[in-house]
Amino acid sequence: MRKVYTDIIQIAGDVITVEAEGVGYNDIAEINTSRGASLAQVIRLDGKRVSLQVFAGSRGISTEDKVSFLGHPMRIASGKNLLGRIFNGSGVPLDKGPTLSENVVDIGGPPVNPVKRIIPDKMIRTGIPMIDVFNSLVVSQKLPIFSIAGEPYNDLLARIAIQAEVDIIILGGMGLKYDDYLFFRDTLEDQGALSRSIFFIHTAADPTVECLLVPDISLAVAEQFALQGKRVLVLLTDMTNFADALKEISITMEQVPSNRGYPGDLYSQLAARYEKAVDFDTAGSITILSATTMPGDDVTHPVPDNTGYITEGQFYLKNGVIEPFGSLSRLKQQVNGNTRDDHRTIMNTMIQLFANYRETVEKQAMGFQMSPWDNKLLKYGKIFEKDIMSLEVNIPLEKALDRGWQIMAECFTSEETAIKKSMIEKYWPKK
């Protein structure tokens, strides 16, 4: 028998305060209102006063409504039965399937012991040259896509998810537009990937607080699969919405804001989620790809800024392409030495030439005269943008490297590339 409390003494924002006893910190409660039931989580205990954040929002809650505490933290079912299913941020099915209650695990579990991690060394191939060649994605990496609203970051996430060689895909949507949700569902279904996917969807129309649960639920489920030896890819979009939800709650709780209204523990909160990315010693792995929209394209905004300090690099999505400057995969050195021996050469040379091309474009815009070298660069840059940089290109790494050699041969003499002689002899296309 659970004790039911009806003394709601305060309702402010999405936080309600009720008088109760014997309640555990972070425990889950159920609130029954005339408009339905909602889950809530304990976020502060002060004597008898228990503050709860209500996942469905506080709208319509009466001071006489019934609150009962479940005596445990937020839990989620895990395991194979979840595959192909779609849930909301509280783990309630959104498809017409049954509610699951097997293998329940607490969300937001303890951190991994660093000595049980291994140095990541397996590449995830995506078929996107800007990633595979220039900023290789690595198993267990945590990597956000930085972009402004309106960029096709969800398309990019979906594409990587489909093409990546992983066992399980988990999508955590936060403040997702409903049509974006449908887009993910349809794309994965068309590609036959839905049966190895799990969706936790919080749409823009859902109550803000529910959004806070999405990363934890997604990662708790992912962790269970990883412990069973599975390679899991978790997509989180959009983490800025998650941060904004944190901000909303902390302001409601009258916490002192630190930077642009965000709470002082924003870094720790984000890190607690991103650090779930792991390559277990003797078990599976979790790779996290997220979208972080930057308000006003400002990378110094607290959300992208804190994220950048936590994640292992970032992809900059700008004007529909992955921008080579500013994008970075910190783990690429772990893998790009064991692919093909010309991988690093192509990566360095082509980027350097592309940087030169950018300078030339600037010079051209300022009306300076173009030298023959400048013209070569202009030609190179155009081909590079079309055949390598465009997100429409979909070729395996080896093909992309071959194409790289061809492009350079089309535009330059071998000496002009300053590539080592031994490499030139081996790879430079012969006329």
Binding site: K48, P110, V112, N113, P114, V256, N259, G264, D305, R330
Partner: protein, 580 residues
């Protein structure tokens, strides 16, 4: 023995828990929250009336109002003794490998293990004898630890002169067997073990005096050693935006720096980076001793997803261990990455305590805390006349990469050297991305003053000319200005920058730095005869290429000498006629 003082929990807010106590309570004492079978460590950080406010070093999920709290009367302390080297601890000095054996993949809360196993046996050799008079910190004997003589010292908290009334014979003992007995001036007897317990927030000061840092600490990073040096016992900080290479710089320093012992405090950063250190260090050989690097390293790691309060303690745990080895007359380097995360941990607690916030919500005592941490560095003369040092290098992760923020500013006030990393340099793949135009050091370089001045001056001049050229174009720049621009660019390219992926170039010894710097100085002082700017550019391009080869040739090898000759002839070909 009085019964344990207890209290009851009355309030929980994140990792701050308030308990009501009944008798008395000590500021900063350690308390344990009893939650079912679990005992969760906490520290009292504020006392108000009968309420003790504690920061909990663990996740507080599930804790209930009314649960029992046990106060211990002990300050947060670490175990000091043989067996620290090569270890990997968390912020509370729990050995992580042993934790993994005990609880598997995850760090379960409430499990505390001995930092130094009591039953480990050590070969003790006495050096003091019965009847000797000693002071706190004096050496009584030693045990071999890795390649060091690990001295067993008179406990640091004793006062005045003490007489040795008993001392163990040479033999094998464990950490719980007394090896000496000391009688203090009041006739009270003290048993001495090979292990000491010391509170982390109090500096160990059992030495005769603290000295001004003078001797260079060679990191084998040219831009640091030559241009912005660090002295033994000095302090320095490395602020930089994300992705500028702070951690890579710290990792290379930890490998190459000429210190006896390196203590790494990975504070609130990525677990992946710690993993790299702890998996590779046992395999990398220290070039000087041929022993694995892990033999001289202690890692304290509290990564970003581990409990926040322990992040603060990790920094103190690390500096206490560093001070302990300093007492043995060793040179210790402490690398803290990143001090901003430690400051943020303070900010989180301050917010929960509802203190009046300072700038960017950091607490008002931020500056004094940072200052007192860096002040624990220093070179000291010990009672027996030998020297030891603790050098502290901390990275700072300023929000938005903006150095005006409080943590960077508070740090700059107290450190002796500033190695500022810039986004432009790291984007241009210039490694290390230490910006020579903003960095500074108060310590003396081993490069002579005239040469050093020239180096700094040409970098500034070159930058000025480059700025000017952006406006007026190359055409409007005079040949002599243009040459200065090229000279600065050349100096930057071949000396300030260093190739971290080249076996030779990644670390440059002091002798070689002096030699190369001198030859560059001669080039910078040379007047050249260039027909036009193109000629000048091609000359310096060639020179750069030659120097790059020179940098990756082993010191004093045949190739090194040959390249040097090529360079000399290249230069004499272009030297101005009147100076020939």
């Amino acid at each position: 023995m009085a019964s344990k003082r207890i209290g009851r929990i009355v309030k929980i807010n994140g990792n701050m828990v308030t308990a009501e106590f009944y008798t008395f309570c000590v500021q900063n004492e350690v308390a344990y929250i009893l939650h079912g079978q679990e005992r969760l460590k906490a520290e009292v950080i504020r006392i108000k009336g009968k309420a003790a406010e504690m920061q909990v070093y663990e996740n507080t999920g599930g804790i209930k109002i009314g649960e029992k709290v046990e106060f211990t009367d002990e300050l947060l302390s670490v175990e000091l003794g043989p067996g620290l080297l090569g270890q990997i601890f968390d912020g509370l000095q729990n050995p992580l490998p042993a934790l993994a054996e005990k609880s598997g993949f995850f760090l379960k809360r409430g499990i505390y293990l001995e930092a130094l196993p009591d039953n480990a046996k050590w070969d003790f050799t006495p050096i003091a004898k019965k009847g000797d008079s000693v002071r706190a910190g004096d050496k009584l004997g030693f045990v071999p630890e890795k390649r060091f003589k690990h001295y067993i010292m008179a406990p640091f908290d004793l006062r005045g002169n003490l007489e040795i009334t008993k001392i163990a014979k040479k033999g094998t003992y464990n950490l719980k067997e007394p090896i000496t007995e000391l009688k203090d001036e009041d006739g009270k007897l003290h048993e001495v073990f090979m292990q000491q317990i010391w509170p982390v927030k109090i500096p160990i000061t059992a030495y005769s005096e603290k000295l001004k840092p003078k001797k260079p600490l060679v990191t084998k990073m040219r831009v640091i050693d030559s241009l912005f040096p660090v002295s033994r016992g000095g302090t320095y900080c490395i602020p930089g935006p994300f992705g500028a290479g702070k951690t890579v710089l710290q990792q290379l320093t930890s490998q190459h720096a000429e210190a006896d012992i390196v203590v790494i405090a990975a504070c609130g950063e990525r677990a992946g980076e710690v993993v790299e250190t702890l998996k590779t260090f046992p395999k990398i050989k220290d070039p000087k001793t041929g022993k694995p690097l892990s033999d001289r390293t202690v890692i304290i790691c509290n990564t970003s997803s581990m409990p926040v309060a322990a992040r603060e303690s990790s920094v103190y745990t690390a500096v206490t261990i560093a001070e302990y080895y300093r007492q043995m007359g060793l040179n210790v380097l402490l690398l803290a990455d990143s001090t901003s995360r430690w400051a943020q941990a303070m900010r989180e607690m301050s917010g929960r305590l509802e203190e009046i916030p300072g700038e960017e919500a950091f607490p008002a005592y931020l500056e004094s805390r940072i200052a007192s941490f860096y002040e624990r560095a220093g070179e000291v003369r010990l009672h027996d006349g030998t020297f030891g040092s603790v050098t502290i290098g901390g990275t700072v992760s300023p929000a938005g990469g903006n150095f005006e923020e409080p943590v960077t500013q508070a740090t700059l006030k107290v450190v002796g050297a500033f190695h500022g990393l810039s986004r432009e340099r790291s984007d241009a793949r210039k490694y290390p991305a230490i910006d020579p135009l903003i960095s500074w050091s108060k310590y003396k370089s081993f490069i002579n003053d005239a040469e050093l001045r020239k180096g700094h001056q040409i970098l500034r001049k070159s930058h000025d000319v480059a700025q000017m050229m952006k406006v007026i174009g190359e055409e409007g720049t005079s040949l002599s200005d243009y040459t200065d621009f090229l000279k600065g660019d050349f100096f930057d390219f071949v000396y300030v920058q260093q190739n971290a992926f080249d076996k030779v170039d990644e670390s440059t010894i002091e002798e070689r730095q002096k030699y190369i710097f001198n030859s560059i100085y001669n080039i910078l002082e040379t007047e050249f005869d260039f027909t036009d700017k193109d000629d000048a550019m091609h000359f310096f391009q060639k020179l750069k290429q030659e120097f790059r080869g020179w940098n990756s040739a082993a010191w004093e090898s045949a190739e090194f000498k040959k390249t040097e000759k090529d360079i000399t002839s290249l230069i004499s070909g272009k030297r101005s006629a009147q100076l020939k």
